[in-house]
Amino acid sequence: MSYTGQGTATALIGAPATRPSRHAGAILLVGPLVLYMAVFYAAPVLAMLARSVLDPHLTLQNLVRLAGDEVFFHVFGNTLLTAVIVTLGTLLLGYPVALALSRMRGMAATVTLVVVLLPFWTSVLVRSYAWMVLLGRHGLINEALRGAALIDAPLRMLNTAFAVYVAMIHILLPYMILPIASVLRQVDPALPRAAASLGASPWGVFEQVVLPLSMPGVIAGTLLVFVLSLGFYITPALVGGPRDMMLSQLIAQQVDLLNWPYAACLSATLLAATLLLLLLCQSLPGVRGALRQSMR
């Protein structure tokens, strides 16, 4: 070993004491969760994805099968269409509720919030069954309409695309309402007043001030509902017909047939589609800020 003059001095004095990392505290706090997620989530998902190309040996036969599978394309298209319709539905129904909620104070606000959140706390299975009871041939709606002599024969509502849309919209409404209401609440109440004092009609105030400022919430809600819709299983399985099959049902079907590799391939497709969508949206200007703002 050879020392320079400085090196000698350092070696004699000793290395400076290392400061404990500033991030040690954060790491300790987040560590357990990350570990949990890694073991019980990331690992199984990666293992499942791997199966699509590694079972029984490294092969692309599942992907080839996928590319030629007509049923898959029909189902995938239906899944996308359903997600779009459900997202639009929740937006149209949910925005007015969010608007009203953001303007309420006190008891009225609490009650409305509870009403919006109640479906959240009920199992999705129970809610889907409830829709079966409502929409069935001898369900509540048909019986009421027949009782009021408005129809002779029961309407066919269950096991249709209509039923899937209605039920999914109902279940996903809170996911649209809450981000929008949250963002609207943050809007300075003086702004609509200022707009009115400057000559904007009530519709003008909404269109030019409230709506643009609510966009972050709308974006967050739309993204949330769309992504959740893509993966829905129970509801379309219970209230939809065979032609309204969604991707998750197809995956379940393959699992039932013990065709794990193909099921894994389909799952990978779903995951890839979702990630692609999220990545695309993230790159749009303002979306990241929108997500950040609506999570406050």
Binding site: L191, R193, A194, G199, A200, P202, P212
Partner: protein
């Protein structure tokens, strides 16, 4: 803003028939540009609580009127009623002779500046200022020109493309001002617009607003709890307390001749002395305060034998040598100095009078004045004309 821009700013309005009642007169003549506002018996109750309990006020064209009062006095509620955001429980509001109580806020054509500026965060400065012009259907080119003129008027030329979050508090307030006047309203309402700014900035903007008022010639109705601000800026001040007007008048009148205890103590500082009227001599009341006979200006009828409260401003009192000759008709009192507070341009003394009461005396600092120390005995004097009955 130079003369040519000023003239063009006002001349443009001649062609703006579509803007109806908000056109201004020609050239630099400001007469008649402001709205006359008439408040008659205005009342506002929130459930059982009376926020405004009968306010009547005539505001002249082009006047700068301030509603001054403590928090909760009803001044902001009154302003909101003029703007149309609150409906009066009773009474009427007329602008230029026409009652506006049934008119919604967006049809009243009144400019308004809010305490927290209320600039639209998603629009640029230019879009913010052009907002009222857009509502009125003005074309893009004219809008751009008016925006530029407005920005020049509030001394922020070239700020069109910025966003509100990129501006300082003072700049935001000026943009809010520009936005409120760009559509040439005849009435401008301001709700404590300078409250969120630091002292230096506030003082600068106060002077700018006065200048703007002189240039525009429109009626300003200003709400504040800062009495100094009100004294600096207003043509007339309406002191509001508990939903009623305690006194209405020009700043000097409110300061020199307060009509009641509230106004005397809310505006500036006051000393209060109580006594009984014994007589009148040479236009001055002779008041027996127990330990001395004082003379006071007969500003209101006070029959002999009635109990009165007299008030004098601390800066009207001065220290005198015991044997000195009186200057005019004066009141004198022997005092002990309790506290001396040096505040740069002034020295503030807390004195204990012969009667045990505490008095405040303010004296300008100067080479000739000797600072008195606590514990010192002294004699003070003040003019009888500066002693007012409240």
């Amino acid at each position: 803003m130079d003369a040519s821009t000023s003239v063009r700013y006002f001349q443009e309005s001649n062609g703006d028939a579509s803007f109806g009642a908000c056109s201004y007169g020609e050239g630099g003549n400001t007469a008649g540009r402001g709205a006359k506002v008439s408040l008659v018996g205005l009342e506002k109750r929130f459930d059982a609580v009376g926020a405004v309990c009968g306010i009547s006020l005539e505001i002249g064209s082009g006047e700068f009127l301030t509603l001054l009062g403590p928090s909760g006095s009803g001044k902001t509620t009154t302003l909101m009623m003029i703007a149309g955001f609150e409906t009066p429980t009773a009474g009427d509001i007329a602008i230029d002779g026409r009652s506006v109580v049934g008119t919604p806020p967006h049809k009243r054509n009144i400019g308004m500046v809010f305490q927290n500026y209320a600039l639209f965060p998603h629009l640029t400065v230019a879009e913010n200022i052009a907002f009222p012009l857009k509502q009125r259907g003005m074309d893009r080119a004219t809008r751009a020109r008016r925006v530029a003129d407005s920005l020049a008027m509030v001394q922020l030329p070239g700020y069109e493309a910025r966003y509100p979050r990129q501006l300082s508090g003072g700049q935001q307030q000026r943009v809010a001002l520009a936005r409120a006047i760009v559509f040439r309203p005849r009435l401008l309402l301001m709700d404590e617009p300078l409250g969120a700014l630091d002292k230096q900035l506030r003082e600068n903007l106060q002077l700018e607003m006065r200048r703007l008022h002189a240039e525009l010639g429109i009626t300003f109705v200003y709400v504040t709890h800062d009495q100094e601000e009100a004294l600096i800026m207003s043509d007339r001040i309406a002191v509001v307390n508990e939903g009623r007007i305690a006194q209405l008048g020009p700043p000097e009148e409110l300061y020199d001749r307060p009509r009641n205890r509230f106004v005397a103590s809310f505006i500036g500082e006051s000393n209060f002395l109580s006594g009984v009227v014994r007589g009148i001599e040479d236009g001055f009341l002779i008041v027996d305060c127990g330990w001395a006979m004082l003379r006071a200006a007969a500003t209101r009828p006070a029959p002999i034998g009635s109990a009165v409260t007299l008030t004098t401003r601390p800066e009207r009192m001065r220290f005198v040598d015991p044997g000195a000759m009186p200057i005019g008709i004066e009141n004198r009192m022997r005092v002990t100095v309790r506290e001396t507070v040096f505040a740069g341009e002034r020295c503030r003394y807390l004195l204990r009078g012969e009667n045990g009461e505490t008095l405040i005396l303010k004296e300008q600092s100067g080479a000739a004045t000797r600072r008195r120390a606590p514990g010192e005995m002294a004699e003070i004097a003040w003019a009888a004309a500066d002693t007012v009955v409240v």
